[in-house]
């Protein structure tokens, strides 16, 4: 009693839990009211970033990170499709408002890369590895609606229905156990039938078979983690299963509540160690939420095209982005209030939230100065700082994420944009 905890002292950097969350909000920001004037530790919180001021000491603002990827797709498509992948889009038939049409990204996204690395290391393995959250993501699969990629041409659909996410996290265990027991037989059938069809479809069937094999492995991890995890989680967190308000429909006006429900599920899921990597995608690139709750009737994307001298729109865009920031702040707050299971400090000390966007600014579609604002201690970087890198390729930041999470890479995405390697001086 009264003595310092030996357990806490033994928490070295090597076995410290690290978590990473990418929060996406769309259509660029208003740079003059977003980026701090000053660099270094004495920086100011402009209007949009104001909600993060309580977390000043855990915040990093990184100006000067640029998405330099060229190729097919309009600014929005390349904005979101190359944001976490750092590589061009495949040619395709999705036509935007300008430039050439395009398809999916040519590479894996950094969240999925890290998930795979984590799942391969026993002490970092979790039930799901990663969780892909969404809020009001339209029900269509195109370049604008997908942030995360499991590999080239493999967009990951975020789950934007909190009840569905709840079911994934806390239900379905029995079904998955049952599935695990029949996968072997199903694989036989896939092999038997694939001889029957054309080569293009056979390729798909073979991919499916391969996925089934991977699924079998993952289910083993998940189901064994589930057994141990259950007790650990409920002891450590004290509330294993969250309660959600009932019957909240996916409608524009429910967006604030849906966002809160999803954040609560994310924090609970992390507390139970279901995953250590997540994406949190608010709407989509060119997203059109109408923030009636802020007195704004127009859709966000429509407004984002208005020229800067349209004072009314300008002001509305500041408000919209401030609202997104409030959601990031709420996530940070929830993490900071949750004690880190099995360790000292809060979960925020072990988690970094990376808030980002597909564009630097909406009405120019620039991908210079992509918003990258981070909160929390998951990456182990110095915090309470504002940087201006002037103009570095965002691939180098993606490399830095890998390095900080314990899985350094030679390059990430297109190697042409990785010159200079991971950013230095962050720790």
């Amino acid at each position: 009693m009264g003595l310092p905890s030996l357990a806490a002292d033994s928490t070295t950097v090597e076995n410290k839990k690290q978590r990473l969350i990418f929060v996406f909000s769309p259509n660029g920001v208003i740079p003059d009211h977003f980026w701090p004037e000053a660099t270094g530790s004495e920086f100011d919180f402009k209007r949009i970033l104001k909600p993060l001021e309580p977390f000043r000491n855990q915040t990093i603002s990184m100006k000067g990170i640029c998405n330099l990827i060229k190729g097919d797709g309009d600014g929005h498509m390349r904005g979101i499709g190359c944001l976490l992948t750092g590589i061009e889009l495949f040619p395709g038939d999705i036509q935007g408002g300008s430039d050439t049409p395009a398809g999916w990204s040519m590479g894996i996204s950094v969240d999925q890369y890290l998930k795979n690395q984590f799942q391969a290391v026993p002490e970092k393995q979790t039930r799901f590895g990663s969780l892909e959250f969404g809020v009001m993501v339209p029900d269509r699969a195109d370049t604008w609606t997908r942030l995360s990629y499991g590999g080239p041409n493999q967009p990951m659909a975020p789950i934007d229905d909190p009840y569905q996410m709840f079911d994934k996290l806390y239900g379905q265990q029995k079904n998955r156990q049952m599935l695990a027991s029949v996968l072997d037989g199903l694989q036989d059938d896939y092999r038997r039938l694939s001889s029957m069809i054309s080569s293009e479809d056979r390729r798909m069937l073979e991919e499916h078979l391969e996925m089934t094999r991977q699924l079998e492995k993952d289910l083993k991890v998940e189901l064994s983690a589930g057994k141990e995890g259950e007790n650990e989680a409920s002891q450590a967190v004290g509330h294993a299963v969250p309660t959600l308000p009932a019957n909240i429909e996916e409608q524009n006006d429910n967006m604030p509540l849906l966002t809160k429900m999803q954040i609560d599920l994310l924090v609970n899921g992390f507390a139970a160690d279901f995953a250590r990597i997540a994406t949190f995608q608010i709407t989509n690139s060119v997203g059109q939420p109408r923030m009636n709750w802020l007195g704004i009737d127009e859709g966000h994307h429509t407004l984002s095209h208005d020229p800067d001298d349209n004072e009314e729109s300008y002001e509305k865009l500041i408000k919209i982005n401030t609202w997104y920031c409030e959601q990031v702040a709420y996530l940070a707050k929830r993490l900071s209030e949750t004690p880190e299971p099995g360790s000292d400090g809060s979960m925020l000390d072990h988690t970094t939230i990376v808030w980002t966007n597909e564009l630097g600014k909406g009405n120019t579609h620039t991908r210079m100065n992509i918003p990258f604002v981070m909160v929390g201690g998951g990456l182990g970087w110095k915090t309470g700082l504002s940087y201006d890198f002037k103009k570095v390729s965002h691939n180098r930041l993606l490399m830095s994420f890998c390095e900080a999470m314990g899985h350094p890479v030679e390059s990430f995405g297109n190697p042409d944009f990785c010159g200079g390697g991971a950013l230095t001086g962050l720790t």
């Binding site: 309009d74 600014g75 495949f90 395709g92 038939d93 999705i94 036509q95 408002g97 300008s98 050439t100 049409p101 398809g103 999916w104 269509r140 699969a141 195109d142 499991g150 493999q154 990951m156 659909a157 789950i159 229905d161 569905q164 079911d167 994934k168 379905q172 079904n175 998955r176 049952m178 599935l179 029949v182 037989g185 199903l186 059938d189 896939y190 038997r192 039938l193 029957m196 069809i197 054309s198 293009e200 479809d201 798909m204 069937l205 991919e207 499916h208 391969e210 996925m211 699924l215 059109q288 109408r290 009737d297 127009e298 859709g299 429509t302 095209h305 208005d306 020229p307 009405n363 579609h365």
Partner: protein, 592 residues
């Protein structure tokens, strides 16, 4: 006690192919005094709409069998080919099919299995023979054909023999069956009979589902789908099904790009009355126009550009003026629908009897079909929903309208612009009309490569402002709606305004071809060229001969998709289909 069953029997989901039925039973306690009258209303909030009493046109006068509406969300299909299609193997998709299979198993355990036992209660049940036959029957529907021995052993016997608990056995069986390649990949049917394969492709093309209807299964098992004539006959029956009707509506909404302009909002100071309710009414009005002019039986595609009627209500009339007036309609003309319990499972919407016929039961939102008055008599082109959707919040947008006309109505391709431009603000150019402003901004040589085509079409609709209201002047200058189009043969057609344009589109072979092409792609999920270079021309001839009737066109499209291909090049579909789950549930009931 008295029991009233409401007239509502089946509710068609808006813009969706799924049916949902709701049965309400109202019990009223017997009273000694006079029975007070009972009134019931049933409302809904349709997608992009506001709460309203369910309109009559969405009610079918039939009693369909109970159905199953899947609650598990399946992620949308890939769009990177320009239209929805399952192209890749996806973990999220795979996971959701597991959940869907589990949900379906729940229904099978609660409803289907007890019903099956009841119907077969006198039959011997040695070694759980009934459970085996129950699962086998489901599997045959799910697999689009009979099971072979290997399949019967793995999908039925092995799973049943694992456990003595029937509930658990059904769960295991269904999870395995619904996760199998046979169920998830519709193209895996090369070992099926010619008729079975034709049935599979017909159901995929016209219903986005599997052939589970009794008449289809019978035709397949009796080998009655081997000739073109046989296929045509059954396709003719299928296009009258509401699932096909739902797919037609979906196609038209996609074609008109309405899913992208779902959220129309306008400058609140300039157009204070242009509110959410009005937008919802306009959408309903356009939807009714589409149903009447293209979807309903014996309709004519050309009416899209020249129907001499519109659907209106009081709110629309208040905003758009006398041309949209509803007129006085005596209350007794309100249309009601009676259920015919013996009626066929196919039903037409009630045919409007006269121009004054009501659509909808409720005074506040009733739609009336009334004679179109110029300049609102050019079908979709003069419809305020489309015109306000193709406009900015405070000005019209000739560029959006021009691109829409070229790409969608005429099926031409356009090179994308070199960059995204912000349009010149009207406030900064107060002396210019929209036409002049657009001409100024797009006057550069490199812009003109495309904008000479875009603008000259878009300008013809300049008589409709940002909310789709007719205008003759803008500011103090008269509107100039003249324009032109150079067709594929290099011939220049000039227009004096929207009327000329509408006239041209309804007669233009280019517009007809674009529509046929689009319809084929939407229904078959394959480019038509994959079925032979001459197919589009053949369809064009038939479309013309059959008076531009979409249903007849779809029959021909389905025939092309269902006939075996000489060289087997495209497989009709490689993607797991969302609708398979509900269809499976619904038709197994019919089956038992």
């Amino acid at each position: 006690m008295c029991s009233l069953e409401t007239k509502v029997s089946s509710v068609k989901r808006l813009n969706c192919w799924q049916e949902e039925s709701i049965r309400c039973r109202l019990i009223q306690r017997e009273r000694k005094t006079e029975q007070p009258p009972v009134k019931v209303s049933l409302s809904w909030v349709p997608p992009h709409g506001v709460e309203e009493i369910i309109p009559t046109r969405n009610l079918l006068p039939i009693s369909p069998p109970a159905t199953f509406a899947l609650q598990v969300k399946l992620p949308p299909d890939d769009r990177s080919y320009g239209y929805d299609r399952g192209l890749a193997v996806d973990r999220t998709w795979d996971e959701s099919t597991t959940f869907a299979a589990a949900e379906f198993a729940g229904i099978a355990i609660e409803d289907l299995w007890p019903e099956y036992l009841r119907r077969h209660k006198d039959e011997p049940n040695e070694n759980r023979a009934l459970l085996r036959s129950f699962i086998s029957e489901i599997t045959a529907v799910a697999f689009r054909g009979p099971l072979n021995e290997v399949e019967r052993k793995f999908y039925v016997d092995d799973q049943i023999d694992v456990t003595e608990d029937d509930t658990l056995a059904i769960q295991r069986c269904l999870l395995t069956i619904l996760k199998s390649p046979r169920f998830l990949y519709p193209a895996l049917d090369q070992d099926r009979s010619v008729s079975q394969r034709a049935a599979n492709r017909l159901a995929m093309t016209l219903f986005d589902s599997l052939p589970a209807d009794k008449y289809l299964r019978e035709a397949a098992s009796k080998n009655e789908l081997e000739t073109e004539a046989q296929i045509r006959q059954i396709a003719t029956r299928m296009v009258d099904d509401y699932r096909c009707e739902g797919k037609m509506e979906e196609m038209l909404f996609e074609w008109l790009n309405l899913s992208h302009i779902a959220d129309i909002s306008k400058d609140a100071t300039k157009y204070p009355e242009f509110d959410h309710e009005l937008v919802a009414d306009l959408r309903s009005s356009l939807k009714a126009t589409l149903e009447d002019s293209v979807i309903d039986a014996d309709s004519d595609f050309r009416q899209l550009f020249g129907a001499d009627w519109v659907y209106t209500n009081d709110r629309i009339a208040d905003f758009y003026g006398a041309s949209w007036a509803t007129g006085e309609v005596p209350e007794e003309n309100v249309e009601t629908i009676e259920i015919d319990p013996e009626g066929p499972a196919f039903a037409e919407r009630p045919v409007p009897r006269a121009a004054e016929d009501f659509y909808g039961l409720q005074a506040v939102n009733r739609f009336i079909k009334t004679k179109a008055v110029a300049p609102y008599n050019q079908g979709i082109l003069s419809h305020p929903y489309l015109m306000s959707g193709l406009a900015y919040t405070d000005t019209s947008s000739p560029v959006h309208r021009g691109v829409f006309l070229i790409r969608y109505m005429l099926g031409r391709t356009l090179r994308p612009p070199n960059a995204a431009f912000t349009p010149f603000s009207a406030d900064l150019h107060p002396g210019l009309t929209t036409r002049e402003r657009v001409a100024l901004q797009t006057g550069g040589e490199s812009c003109q490569v495309c904008h000479s085509k875009i603008n000259s079409l878009g300008f013809t609709l300049e008589t409709f402002d940002a909310v789709g209201r007719f205008r003759e002047i803008e500011g103090e200058k008269p509107i100039d709606p003249s324009g032109s189009y150079i067709d594929r043969n290099g011939e220049t057609i000039t227009f004096q305004g929207s009327e000329d344009l509408a006239q041209y589109l309804s007669q233009s072979e280019e517009a007809h071809r674009a529509f046929v092409h689009r319809a084929f792609q939407h229904f078959v999920k394959q480019p038509i060229a994959a079925y032979g270079p001459e197919k589009l021309d053949e369809l064009m001839v038939k479309f013309r001969e059959q008076n531009y009737d979409l249903r007849k066109l779809l029959v021909e499209i389905a025939v092309i998709a269902a006939l075996p291909l000489p060289d087997q090049s495209p497989t009709t579909a490689g993607s797991p289909q969302t609708n398979q789950f509900p269809t499976l549930a619904r038709l197994i009931q019919e089956y038992s």
